[in-house]
Symmetry: C2
């Protein structure tokens, strides 16, 4: 809650206590039990550190110093021997190795929310509270925790109350290639600025298809002096070397590792193009680990897979974001989500979704036939290693499927009408040499279409669209009134028409491919996922 | 935390108890105190409902039935008479009118975070917990609260644990004119869809410059049956009539009213054009009430005002959002924020920030002189009532000031170089009739510039830009390579150039004015503010 930053004045702990519990059906409503219990303890000079008895429990719980534990047990056993025999009081339960943590503060009085933050902070760090006592003076709240959790609990309370709330993101990256590698660079460069807004971003795992590098940063026990943070996170200057010598990639090990870091905002990032990695998402979500994907395959395949993934995210209230799958770094899905949540009815989406294809089409002219434009793009690394992948329309189809589904449409990829720039037969089966040899055969057909378009004042654009009639991807001659007309180079464009954006659409435009901007879209999702995880706490 | 929806099995309460506290310096470390206390109570057949004694407190707290209170007091007074006289034990403190609430559940065992949610839920609803007891069996947690809070506490726990978490937004609107009125319509239309994601959006206050209408929806005491929500929120079908007969507008009354609604996510929306309303923001933020503004005046005036407002929002950790001040509903500031947070360095911003001016410039031609184009815009309601306001450049200056500041620049409005379409002398002082009469005098000059531009293949655009050299607004002849070239009609355009969007900028384009799209920008901010308020809980 705002303003409660220094709500407690101090924290103290008693490192070692024994927690004891006397319970039994015969205790309910019997006035003398507490008297006899504490009487017996007093006669053995046992000092009681903490007492707690809930209103509907058949038990009294108390804590004593370890040196008093045996005397306490003997005293209780003696006092309640008859009740034990009669089975109305159970054997005294003793739990060693416990600590008491007490938070003290005048300010706790009449300020609701402080106990809540205390417990939230502990819960977020996976600290289980075994017993609680807070008297009506409200100046003190005592918590019993496992001794093993004491350091963590003190740190957590310290951080939660005595310094501006610091959020820690633990990021696990699968696929440290072009986009993933850029992401790691951008995270490294942004670290300082994020820390200034109390967000600590640590990369704790990097996996490629062969190896898995895990952060084994030291996590010191006990209380650290304020301001001193434990080292942590993979060194982003050396991850490549370290990954080389890391053990074999293993999903289970990654999950177990992330499972241990409950106190952090955990985000799994998929920058692979693997058809398998999306199969990991449900398990991640189930563990409360957010998933951010640049990989389209989980969202553009069968509708049922898409729906299952979204349902898992909803069910586990854990973010699943995939902004970078459409328009790279352009905030396309975010904008669409904002429109839908504020009541816009999406009447249509028009887009140029392949920067590669647009760059090729934009070059066509009397002196630049199709085959040469494709080769130009290939030489500059704008195409996939197999350029047919760009010309088949498959990539645009996947992006349009994702957009359509986020517009609320239920549709299978096969329902999207796609006009490939080159038909699968014979192009899909060719090796690269045959491809380049055969490509000039289509130059004349493309030049004819280009000329016809130009004569009508139009331009050839590869347009993806969604409207009431359905979804399609076509090579179209678009006039100056069409939003796609002015898209040049390797830009993408997405235009949303809604009841409020009726006469003119809302348009996003910019580079739709490239490792840096794609990584930037992934990075934005990571920050969004962290914010949502925090809100779910 | 994810998955903990049904973490507790049941809630029970004991409506009336007396909470007692025995304290004193002489109690510390004296083993016999608890024995003697509970012995004395037992001899008087007083049944103890709850016991709590923290580790560092000099007190024992316990609860008894009201009928036992007198006997309990007599017993304690008798037992500790000597210590009282010696001043080492204080007089027994008795607080009547308390309730015990017990939450029970097997699942509480070993699940950190449940107590946290319990306290968070209570804190968020302003319920102060007087005493707590939770034994080490961890199946039960007992809370003592004021009897007056009992119903609220039970409701809050019920809602927090037995139904998907429901977030309640309480929205107060100042300025229910064109934009504000559209906002209320959009909220009404979106209510059902938002409720489906467990967000309940209530408009609880509407103020115009004269009157203040407050929601006095019934808030029933005690527990309501599950699923039945209290009616609440102003009837969005009748607010106009109700506002007519509402009392005089009064900021203090509005603040006091919002102050009572701490359990809700409170958002104050400024859709006025008033220079005074921004003066309310600091007080709102101080109370943890988020501020969403379509009103530019708080952000585009002196830099110190802008900085103070942002500092207040940061200090009180309360959202202050103003997306609709630039580009109406286009997600401009959001996108800029996303870029900056992900490490983009903003090298430049170019924009067409006045839809009105652009619509006028876009119409100019041999048969459409400037004066006629301005009149056309005026007749369609595209201009301000005084069209000079649009042509002075002041509106664009304010938007550019906001953009520049969000890019990290420290600058006063006077530092922005503005070329007005019409100079203040003599145009700013004219009444409307003189304005229309005089306007044709400038037609020739505008036509000359238009023709020169057209001959060079360029178009006249009113371009706002920010780069390393500074910020300026100029009437420019832009060629096809400039992002502003293709902006037609009343569209706005904003292009961001960064180290990653280097060769081609990231561009947003669409209608930059109009009540519906502006309201939609405000609405997006309201949802964002609610999400951030929730994360701050």
């Amino acid at each position: 809650m705002p303003g409660s930053a220094y709500a407690i004045r101090g924290i103290s702990s008693i490192h070692q206590i024994a927690l004891m519990r006397l319970e039994g059906d015969g205790m309910v409503g019997v006035p003398g039990i507490a008297m006899r219990l504490f009487g017996a303890l007093a006669r053995q000079s046992v000092s009681v550190i903490l007492i707690s008895q809930g209103s509907s429990e058949h038990s009294i719980c108390f804590a004593v110093a370890p040196g008093d534990a045996d005397r306490a047990r003997a005293a209780v056993d003696g006092e309640f021997a008859l009740e034990r025999q009669a089975g109305i009081v159970d054997e005294l339960v003793i739990e060693d190795g416990q600590s008491v943590i007490a938070a003290v503060g005048e300010e706790m009085r009449h300020r609701p929310g402080i106990a809540g933050r205390l417990f939230s902070v502990l819960g977020a760090h996976g600290v289980n509270v075994r017993a609680v006592a807070q008297g009506s003076s409200e100046r003190n709240i005592s918590l019993v925790v496992d001794q093993a959790d004491e350091g963590r609990a003190l740190n957590a309370i310290h951080d939660g109350f005595f310094r501006p709330r610091r959020r820690r993101v633990a990021l696990a990256l699968a696929g440290p290639g072009g986009v993933g590698g850029s992401l790691l660079e951008q995270i490294r460069d942004a670290a300082e600025a994020l820390a200034a807004e109390d967000l600590e971003m640590r990369v704790v795992a990097v996996a490629d298809s062969r190896r898995l590098l895990l952060d084994r940063g030291v996590r010191p026990p006990g209380v650290r002096p304020p301001g001193v943070r434990p080292p942590g996170g993979i060194d982003l200057g050396r991850w490549r070397e370290e990954l080389e010598s890391a053990p074999t990639a293993d999903r289970e090990r990654l999950l177990a590792f992330l499972g241990e870091r409950r106190g952090e905002l955990r985000v799994f990032v998929d920058c692979t193009a693997s058809p398998e990695v999306p199969g990991w998402y449900p398990e991640m979500l189930r563990h409360g680990i957010a998933v951010v994907a640049a990989n389209k395959l989980g969202f553009a395949g069968p509708m049922s897979t898409f729906e299952d993934l979204r349902a898992a995210a909803r069910h586990h209230r854990t973010p699943l974001l995939f902004e970078a799958t459409v328009g790279a770094g352009l905030p396309v899905l975010r904008t669409l989500d904002g429109l839908r949540r504020t009541g816009h009815l999406i009447a249509g989406v028009d887009g140029v979704l392949s920067g590669t294809v647009n760059a090729v089409l934009d070059r066509l002219g009397p002196g630049e036939p199709f085959s040469r434009a494709v080769r130009w793009a290939y030489d500059r690394g704008l195409t996939e290693p197999d350029p047919y992948q760009d010309l088949s329309g498959g990539d645009v189809l996947r992006k349009l499927a994702i957009l359509a589904r986020l517009c609320g449409r239920t549709l299978e990829p096969a329902e999207i009408e796609v006009e490939p720039l080159l038909p699968p037969d014979p192009w899909s089966a060719m090796d690269l040499d045959s491809f380049w040899n055969a490509l000039p055969q289509v130059d004349e057909a493309f030049e004819r279409r280009r000329r016809q378009a130009a004569e009508a004042g139009a331009r050839l654009r590869y347009v993806a669209s969604l409207d009431a009639r359905g979804a399609r991807v076509v090579l179209d001659a678009v006039g100056p009134g069409h939003p796609a007309h002015g898209v040049t180079g390797a830009d993408n464009l997405i235009a949303f028409t809604t009841q409020h954006y009726r006469d003119a659409p809302l348009v996003l435009r910019g580079p739709g491919a490239g490792r840096e901007v794609t990584a930037s879209g992934v990075f934005a999702d990571v920050l969004e996922a962290a914010a949502r995880l925090e809100a779910r706490r």
